[in-house]
Symmetry: C2
């Protein structure tokens, strides 16, 4: 009866490294999403993992490191989903539309509010910022690849610039959708695709 009375029998299983790491990432992702990066304390994440703080540091080195790990995982998943969606398409335009649809759909369903964290959180030292940029670059590479295939005649600088333009536009639009439940995933994908294809010209009256 010694444990039943004193403390609720918190099941503190030992876990393998990989198992624990995954669990920590899951918890951290949840808490960061709930509270925001700054308002989250390492102590709280540790507690909700049923583990003590130094464990987190053992695994991720720092609070920034933990956030970074979360983001890397999510971004990798996002990249994968996007890539797969694009694979099945025929026309260039369809490739783009499907990619966009997958992108917005992922952010929407997976963790709508985590999108905030994704696009905002850097209070971080420049080093961390750079790492995040690097992750983003993967996404860029995908887009840039697509553009390069579609437009082999375009100079490199133009491709890079347009890649940044498209990524920025997507991220911002995704963020905006957070407060606009009336705009569906398909709508957003359509807006982006149309805009990429013809810009504003369809709307212009002259």
């Amino acid at each position: 009866m010694s444990d039943a009375t004193a403390r609720p029998p918190v099941r503190r299983r030992r876990m393998s490294r990989a198992e624990r790491e995954r669990q920590m990432l899951d918890v951290a992702e949840t808490v960061f999403t709930e509270r925001g990066y700054k308002a989250t304390s390492m102590d709280e994440i540790a507690e909700r993992c049923g583990v003590s703080k130094p464990m987190l540091y053992e695994y991720f080195g720092s609070k920034d490191g933990l956030l970074l790990a979360c983001m890397s995982r999510v971004k990798a998943e996002l990249l994968d989903v996007t890539q797969k969606a694009m694979a099945g398409a025929g026309s260039p335009r369809e490739v783009l539309r499907r990619g966009m649809h997958a992108y917005f759909g992922f952010i929407d369903s997976h963790s709508r509010s985590f999108a905030m964290v994704l696009s905002e959180p850097l209070a971080a030292p420049p080093e961390t910022a750079e790492t995040i940029e690097a992750t983003r670059r993967q996404q860029s590479t995908l887009i840039a690849g697509v553009l390069a295939v579609f437009a082999p005649s375009a100079p490199r600088a133009a491709i890079d610039a347009h890649t940044e333009i498209i990524i920025g536009a997507c991220e911002r639009l995704a963020l905006w959708r957070t407060g606009r439940p009336d705009v569906s995933v398909a709508d957003a994908a359509q807006y982006m695709t149309d805009f990429c294809w013809h810009g504003l010209s369809p709307y212009l009256d002259d």
Copy 2:
């Protein structure tokens, strides 16, 4: 001789509220830019103002508040510059190009690295994030207004969406330019304008 020996005669003038506020914002902007948001301590800003920490809190309430005030000021200036640049143009396309040019030019000359702070710093509580969004919305309103004039036939939702797309693209492109000194202000403005006008279609080979 009493002050000359003991301590360097730090000129600690008293200032009026408005005067001190401006000075604090100047210093804070500089330090945030130098060190990044997180790595900057309120003590350091206070010291470089020749003032003690509680003064900063008296004026801005919190570290987030101070950052926010900096950003508001810069954004207001940016908005102003952009607006003025657009005023003098004839054709719609020229309006856009001039606006873009002013935008990138401002970020470039005024505080290239502060652009990082502008687009990153939110480790802030949601409330602060919202305030920043509100500031950004001013910029949005400008763009949306322009779009509405150019394309009176477009539905409201489309205008809003395109506004977000354009803002996101601009911010991202500005950030990207930070690491690409070879891309001039004019280049960036041109990329954005062209893309807004016709999207990718000029590059597509089909």
